[in-house]
Symmetry: D2
Subunit: 332 residues, 4 copies
């Protein structure tokens, strides 16, 4: 009855997922870990207690002991592995983004349409963060009237060396793209990206300010600052007609020392979204057992790529760019 | 490999434990639920997906499919069931208190000493609350020098009809008793209970203020207010030589509406300590598998009862009461 | 030695200024109040203890007992009265804006240039708010590196009936225009105004989002929401290279009641900026005595109007508008 | 019409009062400063712009240009100077405490009774702190039912070398004594002082915990920690039947840097109570003009000394000490 899970990718994300699946989720067990770097795969397997290490991702997908696959490999490989899982009729939890571009993402949609069934849950874990779910519930309650605008802040300690402005949109801002759609139950129709003064500590133009408009006329502005130096911080505020809802990291322990009252800020996303990842992975396992999809679909992942495509275009043009509207297949 | 768990008691706590064991913990599955009220047992089993309902707690303890027992029945029954589990050599997670009085709690200690092994983890779940564990780590780091005093607040929306002043000490303050010992790594040596002005909304003298002294000279004061009307709130502050550490509920979503900026307060302990219960129950399952005890022991539960005994005595005398010092057996 | 002050305008602002000058400022006394509505002037005089009521603003300016004039009359009259004071060689504290348009504001500059001396302090009181002055000191310290971007929120309970989108820029956003220049020691070079989803409770398109660029490449975004319903709130965050500085209302009393922890939000700007107005008015009196100008000058007021002119233009065009750069005369 | 003020004492408090009277208060001017240390008196006079320095306090009190006297000299001299002012029929603002003991304080009461008029306002400035006045208004509104208990924290960076446990009660805790009476409109009837673990950084037993009972059955507990090292912090919480009111320093600017979100803590009482002192001194001047007493009376100062006398006694006995009840003369 317990579902056997295989994980492709044993980097930071993959190793974390291995730990969660093996040690914090009911109804599943970790069968195998796979990584191009066998040493890394073995380390993740050892730490989490996975039974096996498998060298070939396609072999992992085909393995009969493995009933569900979690994809945490490099972005460019997500679509291929997801498609292989769909063909093997195995449920997938795929880390975001679905693909670096909309064109590539579309292939996954086509595979699901061909299969006539949804297999992919996309790892937009924020949809499971207690702060975001509470915020969405408050918006949906219309207790404060309609939502009119959203302010978002997305800051990282520092960006990896291979990052650039486009990656800031495709890899980081994609979270705000999805969560805006989730919170507002609306589509994003245009985007304009502004450049703030460039930080002398960044190796590309950072920070950026992206301004989105939704199909319901709402504005969503996002500060993207990937070299903020002080820590990882994701928060925001939804402005409604009669009140606002501010979401952010859960704060508890407060220190008074050396002339300040202080609360800690995480160094990366793991403490900030630890609950979100755990709840997401449990929801994925539960959804496999119940047959009822949970979280973001491949379609949500695809739509996010159409938005980030437009964002990258605006980086070049400096102007507002319309976002291609796609017709949602009835499967989703 | 997965550990079969049986739960005795299907009241609020028992039903919550059933949900956690069945749906949020890795490495275990819920076999059966037991309650004097069969309808309540059946409801908890149905909701959590437990396979069976068992009428007799002793039958549950004896059941060969059940490898570990969670006791969430009325306080007065804890010791007897725990002793039965010890005799059956089955690991136990026993809700606090170990027993209403030290004399009764001592019987559990004797049973473990006879068995020559520890079987009981006591459900002082706060030891697993992220805020408390962070606070203890900060104290132990001595980053702010030695801990000198602790201020605690323990408020409930309203007390159940059968509660009285003594129950406020035995049932509620027992949490602060244990967590003070946990945070300070010290024993409590005296207690004096003061009565504040009595709330006209309480059916007994409420609130109380208890002042404890520790074996290291620290003071711990605890406001106990079981009819605080506004919600459930547990928080505090540890005063150290060069700084203080305030622990409390994790806050995130903030509402601005109708002339106030507001954050929600839970109505009872479940949202406040949801993480603590989940982590505690996972730690219990993990400890059974690893053979390494986790959390509070039966001895910790027994010591807590010696403290609350003295607290109840102070309620009567109005004076400071010494707490009996017990010699810790080498088993603990 | 004490400076005799006359106040033109006895509306909400004028009456407040009368109270401050008469009862909270050292080195000055209130001589007379003037208003088109004599009843209103008499009420303000009575409440503050002013000796006289004067019907004609020009008579007030000419009055030999009056050594300094505070202008709190309707916006369109500010420039004329300020020019009359300059001609009479009397120091002026003029409520913002200097004038509704840059063209009108320029006349005041010309009067001061002709006089060869500065007489006007412009009532951008935020420059005296302790939160803003602390923020500017932190920016100037470069403790967190260079300032890169500023996020501002400017919300009112509800806008007066005569307000519209343009007034939101000219009358409200003008505060953020001045304070951005003050905080960043930079000029604003472009502005683009976006419309959020329109609140159904507003009688014009509200809220707006204005995005400014500075001469140093910084971005300043301002949410203007004049019908926010829940209260008056002005706050923001300066994003620097290694840290951020959030400024906002001073919070102290915190209520726990009915399921929430809450801090109060003012209904209008008076409690929020009470300290700023008092400190500003004291600084004005002190500057008259010392001969050293304080706060914003007529030039600052004029520049603010060039920015709001461009903001109003962007409201019409929907595009980014360049802001006319003016050459600062050596007088300022 | 402007009231001429003379200040006795040019230490930290006296110099601050000189600055406030000369530069922040309407309706008064600073005539002279007096101090045993003439250099210190001259410095305070120069900085504040006082016209004269007077060597002899009695000469200052007698000076015809001086209509009101502010006493900020050492504690032991307060009563004598206050009595001299009463005899000279001059209004006094006297720094707390009225006297180091109740016996000495009683002499001031007798002088006012003999004069048949109140001349003394006691410098319990917290009664003018916006946080405390808001808290008292909320208590009096009975919006949250009756007040049942108060928790107070009183922390200093470090105590002066001449301080000891008794001084912590007489000099520091006296503020909580007065403010409890002010907030609760009740008398304190008993006090018991506990010693926490002694800080290794303190030259006397510090911190202490004082527990007071009021005539209405309320409890007031006060943590006194005069060597808290991290800063000056005064805050507390009033527990009412259906809600609580927490008062504390006004917070605004918030820094995010180096892994923490931080708000500053003052190094001493001056920033924390700057508004309180200014408002107090203005209220004193206004009360002289209106003839209506403001703030704490000599009686309030005397009662506070009866309470601190009992507190010092409890330091010695370790037990609860009753506080002498004094019959209030009709003058107060």
């Amino acid at each position: 009855m317990s579902i056997g899970v295989g994980i492709i990718g044993a980097g930071i994300m993959g190793a974390d997922h291995a730990r969660i699946i093996a040690g914090q989720v009911a109804g599943a067990h970790l069968v195998a870990v796979c990584d191009a770097d066998m040493g890394r795969a073995e380390a993740a397997a050892r730490e989490s207690g996975a039974r096996r290490v498998i060298a070939d991702p396609m072999a992992l997908i085909a393995d009969p002991e493995i009933g569900a696959v979690l994809i945490a490999s490099p972005d460019a490989t997500h679509a291929d592995y997801a498609i292989a899982c769909i063909k093997a009729a195995k449920p997938v939890l795929c880390e975001k983004p679905l693909a670096p571009t909309a064109a590539e993402g579309l292939r996954v949609i086509e595979a699901e349409l061909t299969a006539g069934r949804r297999f992919v849950q996309l790892g937009f874990m924020r949809r499971f963060d207690p702060g975001y779910t509470e915020t969405r519930a408050l918006i949906d309650s219309r207790r404060f009237g309609a939502a009119l605008a959203v302010h978002c802040v997305h800051r990282n300690l520092s960006a990896p060396p291979h990052f650039n402005e486009a990656a800031a949109i495709v890899n980081s801002c994609v979270h705000e793209v999805d969560i805006s759609r989730f919170l507002l139950s609306a589509e994003l129709v245009s985007v304009q990206v502004f450049r703030a003064r460039r930080s002398s500590l960044a190796h590309f133009h950072d920070p950026l300010l992206a301004v989105f408009e939704t199909s319901d006329g709402q504005l969503v502005d996002v500060e993207l600052f990937l070299n903020a130096q002080y820590g990882y911080e994701v928060r925001g505020e939804v402005v409604c007609e009669t009140g606002t809802i501010a979401f952010g990291p859960a704060l508890s322990t407060e220190i008074r020392h050396a002339g300040v009252t202080a609360t800690g800020i995480a160094a990366d996303w793991r403490p900030r979204f630890a609950a979100a990842y755990r709840i997401q992975n449990q929801a994925w396992i539960d959804s496999i057992r119940s047959g009822k999809p949970a979280g973001a679909s491949a379609w949500d992942g695809f739509i996010a790529t159409t938005v980030t495509d437009a964002g990258v275009k605006s980086l070049g043009s400096g102007a507002s760019e319309r976002i291609t509207r796609e017709k949602k297949p009835s499967l989703y």
